[in-house]
Amino acid sequence: MPLWKNYHLAQSVDDALQALSRTPRAASLIAGGTDLLLDLQQGRHPAVDTLVDITVVPELTCLEVRGENLFVGAAVPLSRIVANHSVQEHAQALVDACNLIGGPQVRNSATLGGNVAHALPAADGTIALLALKAVAEIASLDGQCLMDLQELFIGPGRSALDPRREVLLGFHLPLHGVGDASAFKRVMRPQGVALPILNMAIWVKRRGDVIADIRLALGPAGPRPLRARAVEKTMAGRPLNKNTIDIALKALLAETSFRSSPYRASADYRRHLSATLLEETLQEAWKRAA
């Protein structure tokens, strides 16, 4: 049984939505396909009747500043995101993260939309987007809507998107303002699956030595990608010093639920690394915000 029967190269959002809805049998959207195709090949995803390719749909491959926001189309290949000057200016954490996903060849196919739609708790792109306060734009046959990124995640590997009726169009990120910057870091191990042991993204707004505002996301620290709001609260308005970090760390350990994954990392190791990453990532973002 072939992995798919029909391959539809959608030309517009409407075309993609129509193709999805008119196929009575199994159909699936495909962007870069760097996960989906492997799932199909290795039997984790049943064969489908139709693959609806969205990689040439203009709305989804758009990457531009729109008014107060930066818009990153869901089907823009990661390599384009990394090389884009607007992203480099306004969303450094996203550049850091996208540059670490897969290898160079994979990044020429893989997309941010795919990274988000897979809803894995430690997806690098997703974690960066969360710290950057991304808003997702979703299209269905009924029209388009905006959704806070965090609401998209239901559980490990489960997103709120209706795979037969909805298409993720892209992400709106606020433009960078005075004294703010972001960074992303992760820790891997050299053996086994190329999933991070722990990753973290921080956006910080700096006023002199004071953390005027901060957003922090990390994974895997629970069933969904985590935006650590309680940690943010302990830090906002405080000077950046050891005391602030200690308090933040305490809050971080309370807000997260680290698990042990066989052959990858124990929960203890993750707890230890969360402290390391907090300091390192914050330092980097802080430096950039200067």
Partner: protein, 936 residues
């Protein structure tokens, strides 16, 4: 849906098949087989092609997506070559091959070894240079991060890219590797490029899966998928009914012997009803069908009833009294004993006694080319099997036995081998393909996917090694007692030999007056373990070299000094009682590595240094020694035959069945024959691995081919030279010493005779212009009997500098200095590849590779879960060649394939100890464990 695309400048209009990937379209429809499939899971990078200028992985790129796009494959690259090289501006013998500078540079820098990954490497590099004409090392590492080379050719790949970039920027010709000297007078000892390199950089090189025969069927194998069971029923009814299925065979359909095996025939070709499944990869049934999809569907429809049995998952458990016997003679494959002196006495003399147990993991060869066999019947009623195998004659023997045919009816035709490292010595799909061809009368291709490859071929043995060591306060060893457990998995393969080598080498390259070693090579329900570069010594070297550092630590001695005073030297007696009479370059290896280490590190290489500006990073050096036998040894008759022929076109041709698996044998043989005839290597052809055409060179294993097949080729060349001399001396009526071979001609009495004419002359005289020579290596003695167990040993010292991140426990290897006593560097360019690749593989063994089996089931069942080192793990490698000639070896040469990889792991783990005080006693290095123990 119809797509329009341009491939290598040519427009095509194609209807993609359901499920078709770009790689299928290129390879199967357009015949562009230069794009290789290594993993088919977007991990290895071999299938990299450019789509609209961007490198992508063709194995996971739907063909339909290529609509309206331009695709560039390796086959199209040469046509994009700048005018400069096309015109054939000659320099240092290169430049006229019509290649792109990248292709030329890969050849001249020795970046091509087995060649399977090379199209992907070159395409990835090309995309980089299009974007960045002057890439730094870091840029190259970033771009090639996920384009894997299991030969570990990364350092030369890097040099090749920089060299090509320079040429493209400046128009200057490619500068060959620095090893090339201006005017070589000799052939032996001067760098030579591989004769197969050109085809490997253009994509024209044919590996087994690139072959296609008319009417060819595709085979798949039903694997047990359970580690231990008795088969109660196999139902193939549904499979046989599927349209397009040509044959479904089970154990009862095997005409001949049901088992295969290189030493002990204990490995069932298929497990029959009522018989025992011993590992997940066991075959239960085989299918041949019109397409791979149909064959897969048929295999999936086969129902097998198993009576599941408890799993024996480690060798210690396997030795428990009362454990189920996996084989009729029990679970003990072999109890291997080494005895020298009296260890009790040695421990009494000791002033310090240390004891520790070490654990090493199963590791996987992960050659980038998965196993593939094609079998087809000939009109004469014979069978031909095309396969990239390390031992063609053993394949022939085992295939013939299974078919119940005489060996002469079977011809094994060796194809290029996309990496072996010991993992292509046993039968993989050869017998299954032959059985299906016999049953259907049609050609049958059996290609393993990565999952199947991981399940079937034997791995490196996981071991548990306890060493008790006694020494005097001055560091002199008095006794060494070793107990080893080796997990040989479900079948013997070469397990007994491997664990014997682990045991005999378990006291390290040191003279220990009293030694006792006991090894239990045990059957378990894990995948079988067999040969893997290092052949058991990789494991015991890690244990004993860690112990030597622990001894130095205990005695507050310099780790170098402890080794220096105990190192094997001329006159030393090994722990198997062999007196070393010649070719012991160990101390020179040690001294030269140490000198280079001090030159780089300053005064205290073994003291941790904090990296400036990064207080969390610690650096330090570690050192390790090793030795490794060349050849089979242990009393096994070790011989190789070769034939040298003068063809009617005046070319010389050397033939032997020995395998070229990337190591460079083909160049070595070519050089030897050229040297003996005082001619150019370009006038010598090499034909390998064809059981009809090439005499038996024996197995390509044990670092033996340069030595044994090299000697055979040399002997055959000498014999042919003598025959030619005799013919011409007679014809011209001169004494034989007036017949001289000069640069491809024979000079007699002022006449120059062309080689074509010589061939003609000999034929007309009724003397065939060819000579066969069978070389027998010196006799060796079995373990336990006095005398020499091996006819030669190679020696090595390595020093590694690591950097440990104290916050995370992460380890990076920064530099490795490697000195190898190889007797004689026949081809320095090939040697460089072996040394650098060996070190890279050693880095993998230490840091990245862990083949995980849980209760007999493979956890790391795909390349995505099994990490081999990539270019980003590759340290700076400084190779020092030490040449203590071996009397019998050709021009003094001895083996190098394994020794270069063996000491890397303990050099790294010893460096980790010096950096952060954590002793690694379990492989691979676990960064979490390091971080945790550091904070204790």
């Amino acid at each position: 849906m119809t797509i329009n695309l341009v491939v290598n400048g040519k427009p095509y209009r194609i209807d993609p098949h359901p499920g078709e990937m770009l790689s299928d379209l290129l390879r199967e429809r357009l015949g562009l087989t230069g794009t290789k499939i290594g993993c088919n899971e977007a991990e290895c990078g071999s299938c990299t092609v450019l789509v609209d200028g961007d490198p992508v992985l063709a194995c996971t790129y739907p063909a339909g997506r290529a609509d309206g796009r331009e695709v560039l494959t390796i086959e199209g690259l040469a046509s994009l070559s700048p005018i400069l090289l096309k015109k054939g501006k000659r320099d240092k013998g290169n430049g006229s091959r019509g290649l792109h500078p990248l292709q030329e540079a890969f050849i001249l820098h020795g970046a091509v070894q087995c060649g399977f990954c090379i199209p992907g490497q070159i395409m990835t590099s090309y995309a980089l240079l299009q974007r960045n004409p002057d890439p730094s090392e870091a840029d190259i590492q970033q771009a090639l991060k996920d384009t894997l080379c299991r030969c570990g050719g990364y350092p030369s790949i890097l040099r090749a890219i920089q060299s090509a970039a320079y040429t493209l920027r400046t128009g200057e010709p490619i500068e060959p590797a620095a090893l090339f000297s201006a005017a070589p007078l000799e052939i032996i000892g001067t760098p030579q490029i591989r004769p197969d390199a050109v085809n490997k950089v253009t994509g024209e090189a044919i590996f087994t899966d690139d072959l296609h025969f008319e009417g060819m069927l595709h085979a798949r194998v039903k694997r047990a998928g359970v580690p231990h069971a008795i088969i109660r029923k196999v139902d193939v009814t549904k499979a046989r009914q599927i349209k397009g299925v040509a044959a479904v065979l089970t154990a009862q359909d095997i005409p001949g012997e049901h088992n295969h095996g290189l030493v002990i025939p204990d490995w069932p070709t298929m497990v029959g009803v009522g018989e025992r499944v011993r590992t997940v990869g066991d075959a239960v049934a085989i299918v041949a069908a019109e397409s791979r999809d149909i064959a897969t569907q048929a295999v999936d429809s086969i129902d097998v009833d198993y009576e599941l049995l408890p799993v024996i998952s480690d060798p210690v458990q396997a030795r428990h009294p009362g454990e189920t016997a996996l084989h009729s003679k029990g679970n003990l494959l072999k109890h291997i004993k080494v005895r020298k002196g009296n260890v009790e006495e040695g421990f009494t003399e000791a002033e310090v006694i240390l004891e520790h147990t070490f654990f090493t993991a199963i590791t996987e060869h992960a050659f980038i080319e998965p196993e593939c066999s094609i079998a087809r019947l000939t009109p004469e009623g014979r069978i031909e099997v095309y396969v990239g195998s390390q031992i063609a004659y053993a394949d022939r023997n085992q295939i013939a036995r299974a078919l119940d045919w005489p060996e002469e009816r079977v011809r094994v035709i060796g194809m290029l081998v996309g990496g072996g490292f010991g993992g292509k010595e046993d039968i993989a799909g050869q017998i299954h393909a032959a059985l299906l061809a016999q049953a259907t009368g049609r050609p049958v291709k059996l290609l393993f996917d990565r999952y199947e490859s991981f399940h079937v071929h034997p791995k490196r043995h996981a071991t548990q090694i306890r060493i008790k060591l006694g020494a005097r306060r001055d560091g002199r060893l008095t006794a060494m007692e070793t107990e080893l457990y080796g997990d040989t998995g479900a079948y013997a393969s070469l397990g007994e030999k491997v664990m014997t080598r682990a045991t005999t080498h378990s006291a390290g390259p040191y003279e220990v007056p009293h030694a006792r070693a006991d090894c239990y090579a045990m059957y378990t329900n894990n995948p079988p373990a067999g040969a893997f570069r290092g052949f058991g010594v990789t494991q015991s070297c890690f244990a004993v070299e860690s112990m030597m550092d622990m001894l130095a630590e205990q005695l507050s001695m310099d780790p170098v000094e402890v080794r220096r005073i105990n190192a094997l030297r001329l006159g030393s007696v090994t722990n198997t009682g062999q007196i070393l009479r010649e070719s012991v370059g160990l101390l020179e290896c040690l001294e030269r590595v140490v000198a280079e280490m001090y030159r780089r590190a300053g005064e205290n290489p073994f003291t941790a240094r904090i990296v400036e500006g990064a207080s969390h990073l610690r650096r330090a050096w570690g050192i390790a020694l090793a030795y490794k036998n060349t050849g089979l040894g242990g009393g096994a008759p070790d011989k190789a035959a070769a034939e040298v022929k003068l063809r009617s076109d005046g070319m010389l041709e050397v033939r032997t069945s020995s395998a070229e698996i990337g190591q460079g044998l083909v160049t070595v043989l070519q050089m030897i024959v050229a040297q003996e005839f005082n001619t150019s290597v370009s006038l010598v052809r090499v034909l390998l691995s064809d059981t009809d055409l090439t005499p038996d060179g024996g197995p390509t294993t044990a670092s033996r081919q340069t030595y044994v097949s090299g000697n055979a080729a040399r002997g055959a060349a000498l014999a042919l030279r003598q025959a030619i001399t005799a013919t011409l001396a007679e014809k011209f009526d001169v004494p034989p010493d007036q017949v001289r071979f000069v640069e491809g001609l024979v000079q007699v009495n002022g006449h120059s005779v062309r080689m074509e004419a010589v061939a003609k002359e000999m034929l007309s005289e009724g003397r065939p212009p060819r000579a066969l020579y069978e070389y027998w290596a010196p006799n060796t003695q079995p373990l336990g009997e006095s005398g020499d167990m091996h006819f030669a040993f190679s020696f090595a010292a390595q020093a590694a500098e690591v950097e440990v991140d104290t916050r995370t426990g992460e380890v990076r290897v920064l530099q490795v200095i490697a000195a190898n006593d190889v007797g004689k560097a026949v081809n320095p360019l090939g040697l460089q590849g072996q040394v650098e690749g060996g070190v890279v593989m050693g880095v993998g063994n230490a840091l990245t590779e862990h083949f995980i089996v849980e209760d007999g089931r493979i956890v790391t069942d795909r390349l995505a879960r099994y990490r081999m080192p990539s270019i980003v793990h590759t340290p700076e490698i400084i190779s020092i060649v030490v040449e203590h000639p071996s009397g019998e070896g050709p021009y003094g040469a001895k083996g190098v394939g394994e020794i270069s990889s063996i000491p890397t792991t303990p050099a790294i783990t010893n460096a980790i100890f010096h950096a952060v005080g954590v002793r690694v006693d379990r492989l691979p290095v676990d960064q979490e464990n390091i971080q945790r123990r550091m904070s204790l």
